[in-house]
């Protein structure tokens, strides 16, 4: 209900901004509503993490007493959370790098070269991205049991490529296609080979697009739950997501919401850092500057 109530005004404000005399202030109000919509639940997570475990269930907007006890609890030996973070970083990082290296070449090919089965290849890549994770996980799990890959990093990294690669290729193709061909033509007139034009002109100019794709891929891989849950059952290899979802709490009584919220805050920090990097890139602008 809360979220629904916030949705309606945000929508009306857009139209007011376009039509009415509120033109100047409506966007600002819309911005405020969006920020509230996006940050209110997140704020609640941060605040809940910073309460004392004893007044965890208090609903005051600001904690009566600030405390980092929950965060300390999360990193206590035995929770496996610190190790989980490292595992998440290894898996998501490897998936992102592999995906970008493999996907960028394919995306550029699809955006620029004219060849016979182009639409067919595009269709195949779109098609592979739509397969539900569960129908890949079941047979792959059986296979990984046979080749004893269960409880290894590659058992999580390889299946993750199934969703990361099409996502990256599709996004990058859209970005490359939006870039004017004149860029390469100019580079080639200046004596570049097509490969050099790609490396020296396209990649630097496509950086915002590549970074967007890197962020999307990394977050998709970092978010991944089903594969990590199915392929690994040893605590030392589990990713942070699986560790959090299976928290039993330091005290052992009921739902350890405090430590779960604290763990959530910690897991989100690397992503917030990534988002800040992304910020600078997107402000630098897409390709528009390069053409004019």
């Amino acid at each position: 209900m809360m979220a629904v109530a916030e949705k309606a005004p945000a929508k009306i404000d857009v139209k007011a901004a376009e039509a009415g005399p509120l033109r100047r202030w409506a966007p600002l109000l819309g911005v405020a509503l969006i920020v509230l919509y996006c940050l209110a639940p997140f704020y609640w997570m941060v605040v809940s993490a910073l309460r004392r475990p004893s007044d965890q269930f208090s609903n005051s907007i600001i904690p009566t007493t600030w405390s980092v006890q929950n965060i300390k609890d999360v990193f206590k030996p035995g929770t496996g959370f610190g190790r989980g973070l490292l595992n998440s970083l290894i898996v998501a990082g490897t998936v992102t790098i592999l995906t970008l290296v493999i996907g960028m070449v394919a995306a550029y090919t699809l955006a620029r070269l004219e060849f016979r089965f182009k639409n067919f290849v595009l269709a195949i890549i779109i098609t592979t991205s739509m397969f539900p994770g569960i129908s890949l996980v079941i047979p792959l799990k059986k296979l990984f049991v046979d080749i004893s890959w269960i409880n290894t990093y590659q058992a999580m990294i390889v299946p993750s490529l199934s969703f990361a690669l099409p996502l990256a290729v599709w996004n990058l193709t859209t970005f490359f296609r939006q870039m004017p061909r004149e860029l390469e033509q100019a580079a080639m007139v200046d004596g570049c080979t097509p490969a050099q034009a790609f490396r020296k002109v396209i990649i630097p100019l496509a950086a915002p697009g590549v970074f967007t794709t890197a962020i999307i891929t990394f977050i998709a891989a970092w978010n991944e739950f089903l594969i990590a849950l199915s392929m690994v059952n040893r605590k030392e290899i589990q990713t942070a997501n699986v560790v959090i979802s299976q928290f039993t709490g330091a005290s052992g009584r009921d739902q350890p919401f405090g430590s779960q919220m604290a763990a959530g805050v910690v897991v989100t920090i690397p992503l917030v850092i990534a988002v800040l990097i992304f910020q600078r890139r997107i402000v630098a602008g897409l390709t528009a500057g390069g053409v004019k």
Partner: protein, 352 residues
């Protein structure tokens, strides 16, 4: 001699210029394209095509321990044909399957519609706003950046019996129990998390529209509504289509959110993915693979219908490019500032 030699020379000569050159050019590009695409395609075959075929095969077998007719325990897998599928469509198992099917469909339609409207609105606001733009960009990325599992736990905390949602509403709703409330909690959590994703992609699309187009529309006297319908929407359509396509496919396989937020074995929010996972977790790979295969077919049919819409766009783009090349450079010169030509036409249309 000279009479016979001349036509021989002339004939192939003409053909070479018309046909051979074109094919050799195509062959060269084709080989290059194949080389450049092969890493991606090989990876996709290994991690997607092989598992799909293996799952199809698996769905025709039973595995794990069974009791045979004489009361002995039998191990290993056995070919059972379509038994796994016929079992799904009958009796209690059938009810459970259709319930999961309905839930999956309901989540997809509701969430994607809500998220598209909201995401579009967010993108428009962000595009219009000059003050606080970087703040709103950072804010909008937060829900999307939070892992689904964490956001599921966050909403579980908000929706728990004496949690923030009930305190805010002044109600005593048991959100995690069976019924509309747990469905609503999943929809709210999903919409909160992914509407910004659509907003982000649409914003990227909006930023590629040059200001001149809007200025032209203004000069022609287009109303804001017409400007939106005839300029913004068509020009942002490619970005929006990608976003919506991915959201539909993503929601059809929804697993983490209901699984963590509400829990396993709750029929109100049990989706096809959860059903298949629970079966595979009990080592009943045959029925699990059958569920997964049915979900796969459902997804494939839905996506096929959608890609027909999208595919027309992809195809149209490619055909246009080829035509442009054949017609020569004069046409290219006319459209010189790319994007502005057709967009300005749309703006002119908006004026009427």
């Amino acid at each position: 001699m000279s009479a016979s030699a001349a036509p021989v020379k002339a004939g192939p000569g003409k053909q070479t210029t018309k046909a051979d050159r074109v094919t050799s050019f195509n062959e060269g590009t084709g080989r290059l394209a194949a080389t450049l695409l092969s890493p991606t395609l090989i990876v996709l075959v290994l991690v997607v095509v092989y598992p799909i075929i293996a799952a199809l095969r698996e769905s025709l077998y039973t595995s794990g321990d069974r009791v045979d007719a004489d009361g002995f325990i039998v191990q290993g897998s056995q070919f059972v044909g379509l038994d796994n599928f016929t079992a799904i469509f009958s009796g209690e198992v059938g009810d459970r399957f259709w319930n999961a099917f309905y839930n999956t469909t309901f989540f997809t339609v509701t969430c994607v519609v809500l998220e598209t409207i909201l995401g579009m609105a967010m993108a428009m606001v962000m595009h219009k706003a000059f003050k606080g733009r970087s703040v709103v960009r950072a804010a909008i990325l937060v829900p999307w950046a939070i892992p689904t599992v964490v956001s599921a736990l966050l909403w579980k905390w908000i929706f728990q019996a004496d949690g923030a949602a009930n305190a805010l509403l002044g109600q005593q709703i048991l959100w995690s129990t069976e019924g509309w409330q747990s469905v609503l909690s999943v929809i709210i959590a999903d919409t909160w998390k992914t509407a910004p994703f659509i907003g982000l992609l649409v914003l990227a699309g909006l930023q590629t529209i040059p200001d001149e187009v809007y200025e032209a529309a203004k000069v022609d006297g287009a109303s804001p509504f017409n400007t939106f319908i005839r300029i913004t929407l068509p020009l942002v359509k490619p970005a929006l289509l990608v976003a919506v396509l991915f959201r539909i496919l993503d929601t059809l396989r929804i697993f983490d959110l209901p699984f963590v937020l509400v829990g396993a074995n709750k029929s109100s929010v049990e989706t096809l993915s959860i059903l298949a996972y629970l079966e595979s977790n009990q080592n009943r790979y045959g029925p699990a693979a059958a569920y997964a295969t049915l979900l796969f077919i459902y997804v494939a049919v839905t996506a096929f219908v959608f890609v027909k819409l999208l595919g027309a766009d992809v195809l149209g783009d490619a055909v246009q490019k080829k035509k442009g090349k054949k017609n020569g450079k004069s046409k290219n010169k006319l459209d010189a500032p790319p994007g502005v030509g057709p967009a300005a036409a749309a703006g002119g249309g908006g004026g009427f």
